[in-house]
Symmetry: C3
Subunit: 674 residues, 3 copies
């Protein structure tokens, strides 16, 4: 919401609400950045400013989700209690001295600080109680994009020490688990535990990353309990994740406190708009509670913290985006945000309205889409998506690999470009499936049973306890198909490399072992181009010297030395298969490998024959009818052979015969209901 | 001056003075880095060392400008009063904790510190009084290349708070002007004002940049008053700017304290020597007081703070440099410095003499030039330069754009290579004019009347109050020609984006409006190459989606999406025109656009027909005669058609007929007096 | 040694010792990182854990070198005495505030700290006394890869001040020597001496670098005295240098405290394996005491502090490495380390055994080599290497050039890639000699006589006192041949540029002088390709404008301006020659120049006719017999003409006739004993 305008607030509020209503918007999310408005001075509370807005929304029939405003401190609090500001560990392999955050940026606090908890609780109780019976307020959002903020304040550190005491029992046991004999740093008293700042212990770093996650979980569970204690019975509780697969948030654990998951997804636009990143984030969101979810924020006009990354969507992309989310299991799509802000960090993170607050190209497209949804929304919402392929996501592996990266040039795949050796593989896998029009779920290390899936993909499972490796082996033995990459099974739950032949407990199921590995200084070809990848017949960064024991070699390096060992093997084990990639494949090779494994698992069909620009999603709606979304993610018109039972295109109401040819305009789609 | 040599000082002093005299030098500038010599211990003063030098100069007929030595602290002061050392804000979008400067580097103090002011005043009073009646000392230089040093010490911060109290009245008014509601950071007491360190408020950052400028202005005005109080009546007061267009110095405001402006200009040499940067700096210097100025420092042999950027001038460049300055309005040219220093940071910032202190190639060329000037100087000095084109320079826009850059790859154009999205446009404009042999003045936002100019160039006027925009509109209405670029009129004086259709109050005069803009991920061509720029027909970085309302579209993007909007428009408004560039043009396109606008304004002629390597400057000397400088900035001989009235080449005394062909040797010139 | 395993320690120890014995290993080095095991709590000592290991080794006939474990602090000490942690100067031209090290990384202490010295002495006394009579323990290693750790704690700073007082006498003398008048920073009391943190004084920086070296020397001499006081008479004392040519260690001075020098050499492998870096490091090690030395660490499987630089050797390279060291004067080769560590910073710095602790490819190759050496070792050890070429190494020049680098792009030549303008030239010189199969010694500035060598190479001798320059001149005059590069003779021992024509006292011998120099913005060709270097006929970065006075010009720049001065000159002076390179030559040109000078000195022969992949080393063994090592450093088989007297290949025992053709398999060698 624009909170201050050159003209009188009241006048603008009416205009905004009228514009929203005219556009067909039905819900707004407010309040998350407003602590200093609710509580301008310590202990003085004000609701009138928000009452006025909520009332106006209510009158217009627009529902409201309110956020607890705890992620950004008011200035008076930072001045009175500077100990609330986070002492942050600088990034980098060797850390460095934690330094006190400066005031200004949001998300700069130690959420464990007693002073902060006191203030947060008092405010939350006031606000939630105030709106508990307001029918316009349908739900509560806890905080905003919560993270650990790398806080390492004394209370965080001492909490960590107590956590270690409970987990390891004695300093000697800890020293042994973390191999602190290394460089003579083992402990005999808990008081000698060094700070996180400069530690080089891989065990310490991994456990600290878990502690950071536990702190986020604890904080949000605490807020959830608090809000539920005060809220109305019909008001739901959610929190908006700041995108999924953040290394300092245990997304599954947080989700247990929520009625419904919400995600803020920002993605590439213009020539980078292809739906794949949205699908990745949606698949992850849906997998947390095995349920549909909300999109609380996504690109409106442009994003970026400066004026240097402004890429407003091409015509059609804003509308297609909404359907992309619905097709992937979202039950709501909201933007950040309604109107552009005149100043400060997000001046150029533009809302639906530009700074002039007039209707515009984005408004028109949002409005068109909202009006479509007023008609066909009931047929789309609550889509049930069922997948037969799962990707095993290991947050511990992501963290541990970041402490010991296996290659500087490993491509980042997210639109934000942050390098991450683990996510790079996860996202390559998901993108290959997406390009093959195969839906995927995510599963987590705690999963006790993978049998719901025909194909399990295991990217770089660097960290795992023996039990998980055993479950994967059992899954294969019992008929499951696994595609697994390098680094899997290497280290145990304390980031200690196993003292047995790699890949440890997976050796039997994988049918290979190895003692050696090498970085690849230059990309290598696979001998004979076994997967017809042409110029893309290259592997990079990493090569394990795989020794087949029961496995079959599928491909060898084209090199006088590395060529002695296979690059990819496949093992028949029990009634399943385990395909092992000992190297980092090109995207083309990865897609070829997955296509091969999908075929073996009987998961391919007509969806794998579509043009490259077209993506298809399937699901069953609340009425029990099957929906088929066909998206054209390109600037050109495309024709598609429709391969399912006769139905109708919900967007234009026209019937679609079996084997009909669909014509999709640029950045347009068809939604066929059988 | 070499201050210490292996041989006896006296002997060397005589030799230096003799060499200077033989070279024809007439003035030296001394003393600016010498606090510890004047005051070796707290309160103990020594003048003898300088008296000896000033006397020797006086005897040789060489005049002296003395600098107040306040820009570099003596070691004893830093030890006794470490609070004088500046607490510096680190650079970067998000700042960070201010840290106390270390001793060693110069320009590391908080110039507001009472201790510093006490010491500076005591010393200045002593020195100036000592030389007030010395006829050799003709003027005083205040400090040296003064800046804000990013100081954010407590006294600076509290001063800023008081400044805000006066400017905004209440914390609520401030919060409203700066949109501090954003992230819930608004203020209700002045005491809660956060430090500059980590602020993300664009309003705060802009006002702090002004405060930094005000501190520099205040400090130099204070020194000027002090020096004038003590100095002799005939001694002038100047300060040597550390080049113009620094973002933390309000050059116009500082100039009001001075009798004459002085500038230190360092520029590219060897293959990068073309006179353009000198012209830029001179045009700016001249515009501050609408008067001629001094060059207090420029390249002697080589520059650089290490041994890695040593590029001594090719033969002829040192001599041509002197005339380049004179042709642009300088009344004096001095070098930094006479002799090379044997140690420390500027060991490789070489003077006219190398470390051997013997005559050399540079000395010979300086000497040749000085002897020429002994003859023809009186015909050259005091040149009046009158221009019909002005560039509007907005320091606020430079700062505000640096907080919100519009493109990472925007080319830096200064020889120093510092990236700056605003200066990049300013310098492109000036360079295009320079290449077209069109002289330009700079005007500033405070200017109340632009009518002295036929063409006003307005680069990226991101920050401006409504009144300035109105003055520009009025200028157009009354017959002025304006060339204006993207981002102009966007934000108000508090860096808040206007809540009306862009470009705000300029909309009527520009005849366009826009609601959207985009970065350009890749350069785009203009459709149909409308300005015959060939390979240079490209625009980059930024595109506003201009909607012509009254304006004519001059060029469109060659792109299926961006092509819907024009890239360049022109509007006839009143009796003038406003040409608006919604994108960043290639240099070739910018030159073509300006050539077109200059033609429309009737400002082109034979000067626009010269070979590329040749640059011409015109002016009227003190005798009222017109001078025409023709420079050859290349390694090859060139021939030029002389297009003015018959006269004589002052350099060789030979007559030059109307329509004569001048032959210019490499890095040589002709100066024709009509 | 693996210090903790999932299975019982005892069991693993027996297995390790058995594997070592089976492999033919005869000595292990232990204990250097184990302070917390020796002294788990302040003042409580434990030896049993090591006794058990030493006993096991003794029983297996494996000798032990024990390290004093002082280079890594136990956690309890860092907590109790945080003042031991080093206050480190950040790198960079302008330094910055020294910051206290964090605990975690090793080598983070102020080795001057009294608390540290107290603890270190107590522990050393305990350990050494405990093993003084143990016949298995043959020697002591002091600390590990000791450096200055950039410590600038108060005691270090005050020590430096006292050092300056003694060296310079008065603050005025210091100020004069360091040209502190510059920026008015001269001193009149010692108390005003500024910290090292932000100094820009080149004299200060150089002297501080010497002080850092002196501290390392003092610390290791102190340990040597201490260890000798406690150790058994037959136990030797060494320290393992962390590679040679570190700028903060005076390697010659340290060596005076040692019975034998030891070096840890890590080098390129796979396609980067050519023996040249090993030869460089060995030549330097041998030159310290003019005696053979130990290799205490070298690459086993892979190295690197992350998983991103793993390059296990190709087959044959591990074995060839051992002989490479022996051929260069090593008397022992040890690896770091026996077995790979399961966690922490060196998880991927893999030992001979992988994490599975089973025999593997590396173990097999090490074992093969050790068994060979059991047979032929007595003929190889103690090889006397005598060279006729020396390279003058100036640590001061390395430091001073790092403060004033002459070119950002100057290629780094070490495998670690650290940029260093001085080392780049030194290593280029050594590599050229290596490629020419010419052995070289290093000599140091203190050397009083170079007459043992026919050719003296002087790279960039930026810092030197007059006396050294005089000795070089005398060497030439008396018939020596010198190849010298740019920057030599430029500054005196206080890093002050000489106030005479460069190259100062070398002018007469060099037969040239210069007053000017330039960086080269682009590489230039030498006119007419005088050394037939083809595409490699290029010089870069730096050009002195040499004025031949007596010298002959050997090559000119192909450039209209720079071409006025020669790039390379040669002077006949007395009965010797001095060849001067005023620019940075390509490797090819450097090799051509050195070949030319070697020919003139009569140092070339059949060794210069060998194929490029083959390297030859000569020496005389303890039996007085000449050995000729022929190495094939390539993946292909090569044939070599043997050019010495008939003998036998020690590796296969077969006779080798005069003029025989040797066939060398990939990464294999022949050792011919005459």
């Amino acid at each position: 919401m624009p909170q201050d305008t050159p003209t009188a607030q009241a006048e603008r509020l009416d205009k905004d609400v009228a514009l929203m209503k005219a556009a067909g918007l039905s819900v707004v999310r407010m309040g998350e950045s407003t602590w200093s408005l609710w509580e301008p001075e310590d202990g003085h509370f004000d609701y009138a400013w928000m009452d006025r807005i909520v009332d106006a929304m209510g009158k217009a029939g627009i529902k409201v989700i309110l956020g607890t405003p705890t992620y950004s401190l008011p200035a008076w609090m930072a001045r009175q209690h500077s100990e609330i500001l986070a002492d942050r560990i600088p990034p980098g392999l060797f850390g460095g001295k934690a330094t006190r955050s400066t005031y200004g940026i949001r998300q700069n606090m130690d959420t464990d600080s007693p002073a902060y908890r006191f203030y947060a609780e008092r405010l939350i109780r006031h606000i939630v109680a105030h709106y508990k019976d307001n029918p316009t307020v349908i739900g509560w959002q806890l905080d905003n994009e919560t993270g650990s903020y790398d806080a390492a304040n004394s209370d965080v550190f001492i909490g960590f020490q107590h956590h270690l005491e409970k987990k390891f029992g004695t300093p000697e046991a800890l020293s042994k688990a973390w191999f602190l004999n290394y460089w003579g740093e083992n402990l005999h008293t808990w008081e000698d535990l060094p700070k996180r700042d400069g530690t080089i212990s891989t065990g310490y770093k991994l456990e600290w990353s878990r502690w950071s996650q536990m702190r986020v979980t604890d904080f949000l569970h605490w807020q959830a309990v608090l809000v539920r204690e005060c809220a109305g019975a019909s008001q739901f509780v959610t929190t908006d994740y700041g995108s999924m697969m953040r290394r300092d948030v245990n997304e599954e654990a947080v989700a247990q406190a929520l009625d419904i998951v919400a995600n803020n997804i920002y993605h590439g636009t213009q020539d980078h708009y292809d739906g794949s990143y949205q699908a990745l984030q949606c698949d992850f969101s849906r997998s947390l509670k095995h349920a549909n979810f909300l999109i609380t924020e996504t690109n409106a006009q442009t994003i970026g913290w400066t004026s240097a990354s402004q890429f407003p969507p091409y015509d059609g992309q804003l509308r297609e985006d909404v359907y992309t989310y619905l097709a992937n299991g979202a039950n709501m799509v909201e933007y950040w945000h309604w109107a552009s802000i005149a100043g400060n960090q997000e001046t150029y993170w533009k809302g639906i309205l530009s700074h002039d607050l007039e209707p515009n190209r984005a408004y028109a497209e949002v409005s068109r889409t909202a009006h479509e949804l007023q008609k066909i929304g009931p047929s789309l919402v609550g889509l049930k998506v069922k997948n037969q392929v799962a990707i095993l996501y290991s947050r511990d592996s992501a963290n541990a690999i970041s402490f010991m990266p296996y290659g500087g040039g490993v491509p980042s795949r997210s639109w934000s470009g942050e390098p991450d050796g683990y996510l790079s593989v996860v996202q390559q896998m998901h993108k290959a499936l997406y390009d093959l029009n195969i839906g995927a779920d995510f599963v987590f290390p705690e999963a006790t049973d993978f049998s719901a899936y025909k194909l399990l993909i295991v990217p770089a499972l660097y960290i795992s306890d023996d039990a998980l490796l055993q479950r994967i082996s059992d899954y294969v033995k019992n008929g499951g198909h696994v595609v697994m990459t390098f680094k899997s099974g290497f280290a145990n739950e304390n980031s200690a490399v196993r003292w047995v032949r790699a890949p440890g407990p997976l050796r039997e199921a994988a049918g290979i072992s190895y003692q050696e590995f090498s970085n690849l200084e230059h990309p290598l070809a696979l001998k004979g181009d076994p997967f017809q990848a042409g110029a893309e017949n290259v592997v990079s960064y990493w090569a394990e010297f795989l020794i087949p024991e029961h496995a079959k070699s599928l491909a060898f390096y084209d090199h006088f030395f590395f060529g002695k060992w296979p690059a990819i093997t496949e093992n028949f084990y029990g009634s399943g298969t385990l395909l092992y990639e000992g190297t980092y494949l090109s995207d083309e090779l990865q897609t070829a490998i997955l296509r091969r494994s999908l075929e073996a698992a009987g998961l391919t069909g007509s969806d794998q024959q579509l043009p490259a620009a077209v993506h298809v999603q399937h699901g069953v709606n609340r009425l029990g009818k099957r929906l088929h979304y066909y998206f054209n993610y390109s600037a050109g018109e495309v024709k598609v052979n429709y391969a399912y039972a006769a139905g109708a295109n919900l967007l234009d109401g026209k019937p679609v015969a079996k084997a009909a040819v669909l014509t999709l305009a640029p950045w347009d789609l068809a939604i066929i209901e059988e």
